[in-house]
Amino acid sequence: MARTSRTGTRTDLALLGVALVLALTALILPSAIRSQVQGTLRSSVAAPLVSAQAWAERGRQAIGDHGRLVKSIDSLALGAQSVEPLRSENDRLRALLGLGQRLQWGFVATEVIHSAPEGDEHTVLLPVGSTAGVRPFSPLVVPDGLIGMVKSVDASSSTAILWTNPDFRASATTTDGLAFGIVAAHLGSGADRFLLEMRGVPFRSVLKPGTLIVTSGLGNVFPRGVPIGVVLRETKTIEGWARTYLIRPIVSPDAASAAMVLLPPRAAAGVTGAWASVEATDKTQQTIVMAGDSLIADSVRVIQDRLAKLALLDSLRRAAIYRGDSGVRVESDSTAAPRPGLPPGAASAVTPPPVAPAARVTVPAAAPVTTPKPAPRTVTPGAAATPSRPLVSSPGAPKSPTTAPSNSPVPTPRPRPAVAAPAAGAKPRSAVMTRADSLARAAARARASESARAQSAADSAQAKNRSQPKPPDNPFRLPPAGGHR
């Protein structure tokens, strides 16, 4: 027992020695070899453990980064909220710079402070005054058009009324100068409160919706050509001698944070070309509308022409079918009664009944017409106009309709007239039209001869009818519905 314990102790010591030697060897290995051994372990037996540790490290990092990411997202969202107003303000300021470049002189750029006393939201403050050259009644403009007018001025600030102010007035006209009027605030309620109206337009001047209204330059307050708005519609007024139009203003007063005050010398000299883009846009819009109208008219004309040609072709096709010179036969419902007083052939050949029975037209296989069609064609009731043969057989004839000639008992595919089938592989359009013209001439001749023949037959039948008593009811008429016992 003691020997076994000693042996075990020696073995344990030996194992401990080996382990210590290996551990110390690993410690004192050169750096390159140690790294190589470490890399080998990482990529082999310890690879799952290293991967698990890396995964855990990433998880801990993600947990730690969560709060920081939330803060970053919040700050970014806060910054993004201010981006759009800054962008729009930048656009407005760029537009204002563009207006300044077009005006070149005689203006004062200013902020528009919407901090007027309560109840007077139609008045704004301007941080420019008489020292900058601002005078009362100076126009207040933005790149889109007119926004108001300076009302009172002191040394370093001034007060301006917007076009929404009930005291605002401006002499206005259309861009072509054909209609004049006075533009003032439309004192409506709700959304209409923020519209303008153009009063005193001569009754002869009818303005279309969308017409651009600009200042007229009359009165020496506003220079000519500053856009005010576009016509919405005419309003009903009690005056009968002038028209009043509702104007949609171009400039929203709330959106204006910066504007320009036109100084009196500039207003007197005019602002020709400063708002040319707006007028050009209006003219372009009108041109597009007119072009669209003309295009629509052209399209309607083309469609009408095509419909007329189609009607002509259809009539020609019918004439070719009913002419009967190509082996065409017309089948009809046997219940159709012949018109009294006329022979069956004449009754059906001269004028069709108002509501013709359904007729089926079949053509024998040897018909010398055009390309054969696989299935027999059915002619609609309205198309059964003037068959050259009787639609109904004589009273002694059997009720079954006549189908094909005796030499072709089985109905064969009906050839389709070339004029009515310009399908794939068909003749060109000119050839079709030539064929249609020839068919039209043939149809006209056939109609003339048949009309003469029918007229003579009708005359003889009328004469015969006068000499004979009225025939009884048609024995071939179907009994009324429900009475067939």
Partner: protein, 163 residues
Amino acid sequence: MSGVFDWLRLLFAVLMLVVAHFVLRPLLGDRIEIDFLVLALLLMSIRVRPGVGAVLGLLMGAAADAAAPAGFGSAMLALTLVGYITSWLKAAFFAENAVLDGVVIFASAWGVVLMRLLLSGRGFEAGAAVTALVWAPLSAAATALVGAVLFTVLRPLLKPAAA
């Protein structure tokens, strides 16, 4: 048959502790770290002879060194000594006393950290004293607490069959 089943249960528990050392420990804390590898080694070494415990410590140290950025071999040496010593002291260890288990675990964990600090050459760096005297004892205490609870819970399952 029962012995094989006991060994399988033991190996499963050790494997879980080793995996927890690499997966769970990074998520639990930054300064105070629970050394599941020491717990696995102690759990294993009490059932084997001291020489085998030393070899097990060498292997677990190799695994720890492979995943460590520096000081290759320090964990091998430290865990080899811990494995041999705890196996030699198994008469005292794994007794029916959780406090004694905790003390042994605390000493083992702290000793491992100290040896790794010294053997890896980081023992004279700035902050090494704080690590050795503050964070290492706290980590060892946390390891001892977890180990005492774990051994108490697992004792009925991992109790060796009567020979």
